[in-house]
């Protein structure tokens, strides 16, 4: 009997979140609510110097005055910020030298996620800084990196050990009062990663962090700071999955990238947090502020594959400050069931001869809403700036929506800007063509979606590309109507 589209649809709907499980590890959790005392307590708990505490408090005071933004094309029940616990860390806070010492339950979690540390050590040459809830519990390959002078550690460690670097750079790209969620993050960020590449060093391996949201009812406030000194290169990977949970979990991360003269940063994300079940219940709220600044001849490239989260609100941006700097943004956003995504980028051209490329692919299925929102701004001094933007949307079924909100602002006559957007569905003729050649409908769809997203998938580092393709298939197979 033929496998019909309806069957596929049914299968897809009933497909539970593959990575939905809950690790039972004791953790110490703060009482719910947010006030100055909590901010102080977080800072104290982490043994932070006075300037850091003050910096957090400053952010908290600004945040109190701010209102939650409403302009995004998403609807959700707003989280009650006084109903969240702002700190949780796994209770046993070990510094392992070998995997044997690691809590077996934690190892189990990794296994389900498909990240075997051993395997990764051997195969990928990836140093993994695993963020389990909020405190990093395992860091590998540190020694290899240390030889090159590369600092790759959790941000709390960096605050202790490299306060001068953190103090100099934190908040320079995303200031505390940048927006509601950035201010919140600045006040209560629990942990995150810090990375510094010294002058002229090419980082020999992909740096990678796996984020997990684990404790029920805890918000996750990651803070990432990547500084690439003059002439250096780094490729940074960020990937995440979260256990399935009924109440909404809030995630408000901040990522700051600083590419000094001639440096290059490549930042790749695969995001697969719990999107809620097929009725749209539960799921992660993902409100992220990501921004990078490029000095002379520097390059920042953002690549993202967004398949998870109930609500996504994310605009990785590039400030092209230095002359001849380059910004790139490659994105695939997939939404299914009741997911909502409002994502895109901002390219701010300030320097001369700056270039930016935006490739965004949105795929919506089920009853989801997928929006691209982007800004290309050419300032009056940015002579010979060049931008190319392409936003393609693929719709599957007629209950979902695809939206495009590009903002294009040009103030310089030498600017060259191109923007194009298309919306379409998978053609019956395309599927027929595949069927005719013995490829069943399910595979055909996977094939076509893969082709549709190829330009972005190609930009991902190898290991990520495989994972991303798998994610696309899981999220989409059979949703064609």
């Amino acid at each position: 009997m033929a496998y019909t589209e309806d069957d596929l649809k049914k299968e897809l709907e009933t497909k539970e979140y593959e990575y939905g499980f809950y690790t039972d590890i004791e953790s110490d959790t703060f009482p719910v609510g947010l006030n100055e005392d909590i901010v102080r307590a977080i800072s104290e708990k982490k043994n932070e110097p006075e300037w850091m505490t003050e910096w957090r408090l400053e952010a908290f005071r600004v945040w109190e005055q701010m209102e939650e933004p409403e302009w995004a094309n998403v609807n959700y029940e707003k989280p009650n910020f006084q109903d969240i616990s702002y700190y949780s860390a796994p209770n046993k806070k070990p510094k392992y030298n070998s995997l044997d010492e690691v809590d077996p339950e934690l190892l189990d979690t990794f296994k389900k996620l498909g990240i075997s540390l051993d395997e990764q050590k051997k195969l990928a040459g990836v140093a993994v800084d695993i963020v389990m809830d909020s405190v990093s519990v395992a860091t590998t390959f540190k020694e290899t990196l240390a030889e090159k002078g590369i600092i790759f550690c959790s941000i709390s460690e960096a605050i202790q050990e490299h306060p001068e670097l953190v103090k100099k750079h934190i908040g320079t790209v995303v200031p505390q009062k940048d927006n509601f969620y950035a201010a919140l993050n600045s006040a209560v960020f629990s942990d995150g990663s810090f990375c510094y590449i010294p002058k002229g060093v090419k980082c020999p391996m992909e740096l990678s962090t796996y984020f997990r949201i684990n404790q029920a009812g805890t918000g996750q406030f990651e803070r990432t700071l990547v500084v690439a000194d003059e002439g250096s290169y780094v490729s940074y990977l960020e990937g995440c999955t979260a256990p399935s949970r009924d109440e909404n979990q809030l995630h408000a991360a901040v990522v700051e990238l600083i590419a000094l003269d001639d440096a290059e940063i490549k930042y790749s994300t695969v995001q697969n947090w719990y999107p809620g079940n097929s009725e749209g219940k539960g799921g992660v709220f993902n409100f992220v502020t990501k921004r990078g600044i490029c000095e002379k001849n520097a390059k920042i490239s953002w690549t993202q594959v967004e398949t998870g989260s109930a609500v996504t609100w994310k605009y990785p941006s590039c400030v092209l400050k230095g002359d001849n700097s380059v910004g790139e943004f490659y994105s695939i956003a997939v939404t299914n069931n009741f997911q909502q995504a409002d994502t895109g980028t901002k390219m701010i051209h300030l320097g001369k001869n700056t270039k930016s490329t935006i490739i965004s692919k949105g795929i919506s299925a089920g009853k989801s809403q997928n929006s691209y929102r982007g800004l290309v701004q050419i300032n009056s001094r940015a002579t010979n700036a060049r931008n190319f933007s392409q936003c393609d949307s693929l719709l599957m079924g007629n209950e979902c929506g695809a939206h495009t909100f590009p903002y294009i602002e040009a103030k310089n006559k030498t600017a060259q800007i191109e923007h194009e957007a298309t919306t379409s569905k998978i053609g019956e003729d395309q599927i027929f063509y595949c069927n005719q050649r013995g490829i069943d409908t399910e595979k055909a769809i996977a094939l076509i979606v893969n082709g549709f997203s190829k330009e972005v998938l190609n930009k991902l580092p190898m290991e990520f590309a495989v994972e991303a393709q798998k994610l696309l298939e899981i999220s989409l197979e059979g949703s064609v109507g």
Binding site: N398, P406, N412, A415, Q416, I417
Partner: protein
Amino acid sequence: MELKEKLVSSFLAFENTVDVDAPVHDIRSQAIKVFEEKGFPTKKEEAWKYTSLNAILKHDYSIFPKEENALEFKDVKKYFLHDLDTYKIVFIDGKYSSHLSETTHDKIDVCLMSSALTHDKYKPVIDNYFNKVAQKDGLTSLNTAFSKEGAYIYIPKNKLADKPIQIIHFSTGKESLQLLQPRNLIVVEENSHVQIIERHQSLTSNPVLTNSVTEIFADKRAIVDYYKIQNDNETASLIDNTYIQQQAQSIASVHTFAFGGNITRNNLNFYQQGQGIDSILNGVTILEGKQHVDHNTLVHHTEPNCESHQDYKGIFDEKATGVFNGKIIVNKEAQKTNAFQSNNNILLSDKATINSKPQLEIFADDVKCSHGCTIGQLDEQALFYMRSRGIGEKEARALLMYAFANNVLESVKIPQLKQRINKLIANKLGVNIGFDL
């Protein structure tokens, strides 16, 4: 805001001049309440992000036209398409000028809103259509509250308007600063066809603000061609709110030629309510000085098998600002929609600004929708090519710009109008060449 309060308090005075027992007056009273609540839009609203009305709202406008100012045809002849036989509805400072107009009641009605609102003969049409498609935002409501005069055009079933209709608004400035609020209603019934040319012209250097609302209804298989010429002087501002409702298989096109004015805002809205509809929105904008033009368009597709085509070209020099904010909404029922939107711009100066925001909101899967937006310069090689063949730099530039705008001009269906616009473009670009080569 001062002007707002003045307007709200003037409403009582306005009521003395109209029949308050007419059903239309209920609409007016409701509208003034909406305006009182919503007021003028500010830059905080997403749709007004790039256009601020503050500079033009601070003036102390006189709200009611007081006296009839006569104009001699020979003085204003150049603003008419005089080499073409047309119906004309002409207003001077908001008052109808019978002297300059040429109206008709022969088979079709080309006449005045003031008589349509008061005479029983027009009541069925007014009841059916007046204020039915206009939205309830602040500016439109303000116009609705004070709606009294404007053009009324009614083309019954199976009729062809035998010649184009010109609607011209003059402001003489004899009463110092003026706020004009014309209200037009155009109803085109099944299988009928009409061509309309609209123009606002200020004859004074005093500031003039026009807040115009036009409602157009195109019934089944009707064809409506609407041309807006916006070439006003630098003290005149225009807020043009046009709402078009289309039934099955109708074709409506609006061409906007924005060559002048202080601040010009075009709110152009198409609502499709049937299958097989085609909506066409074209525009050419050529600006310099400190002029500001904001094209804010909406095409709402609600039923299957419809099309929409938008093509806006802009050329901006000196400190001019251009805004394009185009929105296409495709409802989930509107399968097989083809919606296209294109916005191309040329910047000629470092002080000029373009803000473009082409938006798509799509809820149906089997559609073809695309938009494109470019900002660029004239091709240096093409310029060099022409100059090496003895064409002066200025002329070469003008030719390239003309070519850039040409495919919009090509779709103008009235030859005399096309010629007139060619001439306006030549003037605007400061060259003396005939473009109809």
